[in-house]
């Protein structure tokens, strides 16, 4: 009968506590017939002892018992049960509301009144068993979630550490950069990168990946690698953005992308170049003027390579002028009323404090004050870049020398660029990269870049294209120079530039010899009659500049071959 109904059901352990022996017997028989195991107790004290021994799943507890009544026993049992759900069903013929309330207060979950009805009891036991199972499942799932969350947090911390190691090799500590970035243990998707260019100047990139945590951190790695790698090898801003865009498009799933703003600060020319895709408008403070620079490109990682638009804004930026970048955290900072800080308030802070030297702190303060106590100040990314003379940046590029490898000391390479490729490919970053394999030369990458790019530009523009730098002396000539350049660069068949680089290591230093030959007509270097170096002679061939860095500058052939020695000491 009943046992067959319950055939598929788990046997429960049920504790019956009643001081009345005949009632106890009846209950015990009903419960046993339903397929459960029982233990009995004759009073409250006994019930607690049996509870600890027997570890029941459900307790049937008489309210009025000698020694310790059911109310107190219920309280103690609930305490012993901890976070396990042990349903307590009060056995009572009490019927006044006050007594029933007392049962509930003590932790009772239900009542069973006399005469005991086995169907009702069965229903109650089944219902509480379901509840007990749900509770157990809930606890298990809660523990699992907590465990998974811990696990995820640990993983994200590792990801962030790895990311910080990759991203923070740059020059974020330079005197012209102030920044506020998420102090969260977990990666929030905002990335700030800064790196000096070998030829002087600095690249800065602020990125905001869609999503948080691992997916964002994963995209940030190649972004940082490409940014630092290409910047320190002398690549231009546009090339870097194109490469990043292509890489992110390749690795990120559709729908994930990186809103970004990249700036190139030219400290010498007091100029800034800005590319902005998907980040909120950034602000440029020029003297007492405020200029908004609106996002005009799609974020990185969306468009295919050929469709990507790397065109930039260019602004004059005098020493002391500042530019401000942020991710949407600042604009969307929310106060207790649910209002966003918004662009209007942000612009007001700027307008009210244009002359304020610590505008950065003013902005931060305004946003934090707006959010009020307990606002989540962890999503605020804000960057200030100031134009200043490069020597005041207060940074050393020691990160460039930080390698465990000794690098090659004695080597030679030859590289020849022909025909059309001369028009579309700039080999200087590539050559620089090879030269930079010599660790001792890494700290000299500025000079190396200048020498290589002077030599190559000379070979291409004066040699192959036969352009005269004299032209550049007047504004009209300047335009003419570029017109001719455009024209001639389409007719490069049979032309070439050959670069031959040799390095000889010495005890603590070495000599780098660079020989560049072009297919142009050359020039009459003999006419100079050994007057090297003259302050004005060879102008346009950059020889004076080369001579200031190289121990030897020598021309050969018809003037279409030049060879320089660069000596260095550790």
């Amino acid at each position: 009968m009943a046992s067959s109904v319950l055939g598929s059901q788990k046997t429960l352990k049920i504790l019956i506590a009643d001081d009345n022996q005949s009632d106890r017997m009846i209950l015990q028989n009903i419960v046993k017939k339903q397929g459960h195991d029982t233990a009995t107790a004759v009073d409250g004290v006994d019930a607690i002892e049996k509870f600890s021994e027997f570890r029941p799943d459900i307790v049937l507890l008489d309210a009025l018992m000698p020694r310790m009544d059911g109310f107190e026993a219920a309280r103690k049992i609930k305490l012993l049960a901890g976070e396990d759900l042990i349903p307590i069903i009060f056995l009572t013929s009490l019927s006044d509301a006050e007594s029933l309330a007392k049962c509930l207060e003590a932790g009772g979950d239900d009542f069973l009144s006399k005469p005991y009805n086995r169907i009702i009891l069965q229903a109650k036991i089944n219902a509480f068993n379901r509840m007990r199972i749900m509770h157990k499942t809930l606890l298990r799932q809660r523990d699992q979630i907590a465990e998974h969350n811990d696990h995820m947090m640990r993983e994200q911390q590792v990801a962030k550490t790895v990311f910080d190691n990759v991203a923070h090799v740059g020059c974020l500590g330079a005197n012209n950069i102030k920044h506020l970035l998420s102090p969260l243990a977990v990666f929030n998707g905002d990335v700030l990168l800064a790196c000096q260019k070998p030829s002087g100047g600095m690249h800065v990139l602020l990125g905001d990946f869609t999503g948080h945590g691992l997916p964002a951190a994963i995209g940030a790695m190649p972004l940082a690698e490409i940014f630092y790698g290409m910047t320190s090898k002398g690549y231009a801003l546009g090339d870097i953005l194109r490469e990043v865009n292509q890489k992110l498009r390749k690795i990120l799933p559709v729908g994930f992308f990186c809103c970004a703003c990249m700036a190139e600060l030219n400290f010498e020319q007091e100029e800034i170049e800005i590319w902005i895709g998907g980040l909120p408008d950034c602000y440029l403070v020029q003297g007492d003027q405020l200029l908004k620079v609106a996002s005009n490109r799609l974020p990185l990682g969306i468009l295919k390579g050929e469709a990507f638009d790397a065109r930039t804004y260019r602004f004059e930026m005098k020493h002391g002028d500042r530019v401000y970048l942020w991710s949407d955290g600042i604009v969307e900072a929310t106060n207790a009323k649910g209002e966003m800080f918004g662009e209007k308030r942000l612009q007001q802070v700027f307008e009210d404090n244009l002359q304020e030297p610590n505008l950065f702190e003013k902005i931060r303060r305004s946003v934090v004050d707006f959010m009020g106590e307990g606002g989540p100040s962890d999503d605020l990314t804000l960057v200030e870049l100031t134009m200043m003379p490069e020597k005041e940046l207060g940074i050393e590029n020691n990160y460039l020398t930080n390698t465990g490898l000794k690098g090659p000391q004695h080597w030679r390479m030859a590289y020849e660029l022909c025909s059309d490729s001369l028009a579309v490919f700039d080999p200087v970053p590539l050559l620089l990269q090879i030269v930079m394999e010599v660790p001792g030369l890494r700290t000299r990458n500025g000079e190396m870049f200048t020498i290589l790019s002077e030599l190559y530009t000379n070979a291409l523009e004066h040699g192959v294209l036969g352009l005269h730098s004299k032209l550049k002396a007047s504004p009209d000539g300047f335009a003419e120079y570029y017109r001719l350049r455009e024209e001639r660069i389409r007719q490069l068949d049979g032309h070439f530039v050959k670069v031959d680089v040799r390095h000889k290591g010495a005890v603590a230093g070495g000599v780098l010899t660079i020989r560049v030959e072009d297919s142009g007509k050359g020039f009459d270097y003999q006419k100079l009659d050994g007057k090297l170096p003259g302050p004005t002679c060879y102008s346009g061939r950059g020889t004076a500049l080369l001579l200031s860095m190289c121990s030897r500058v020598e021309y050969f052939g018809q003037g279409n071959i030049v060879e320089v020695d660069y000596e260095w000491q550790a």
């Binding site: 001081d19 009345n20 022996q21 005949s22 009632d23 017997m25 009846i26 028989n29 009903i30 017939k33 009025l64 013929s93 006399k114 005469p115 005991y116 086995r118």
Partner: protein, 115 residues
């Protein structure tokens, strides 16, 4: 409702009880009778009227098991006893107690016949 209107035994309840208890039915009956004799003795000791709560508790206890055993009349008399104790009307206690004792005598023999 007076106890006279109620039957001594609820045969339906007893049949169910017999089904639940099977071979233990006889033991149950003997246990009930033994327990109740004990409890009656305890109640008798409270008839001096000094401890109405003890009188009430005793009646309450017999009421519970009488309900379970299918003894409507006994159960009702015990309920009256419980209330008398509760409202401290101990002057009525003796009379109810005598009724309970008489009813218990009756059901005792009736129950034994059922075994």
């Amino acid at each position: 409702m007076s106890s006279n209107d109620l039957s001594h035994l609820d045969m339906g309840a007893l049949a169910e009880l017999r089904e639940v208890m099977e071979d233990d039915f006889q033991i149950l009956v003997e246990t009930f009778i033994g327990d109740t004799i004990e409890r009656m003795r305890a109640i008798r000791a409270t008839l001096d009227g000094n401890d109405p709560d003890a009188f009430s508790r005793g009646c309450h206890s017999i009421k519970g098991s009488a309900t379970n055993l299918g003894l409507p009349a006994l159960s009702e008399l015990c309920r009256q006893g419980e209330l008398i104790g509760k409202f401290k009307q101990m002057e009525k206690a003796r009379e109810v107690f005598d009724s309970i004792e008489r009813e218990f005598e009756v059901v005792q023999s009736l129950l034994r016949e059922q075994v």
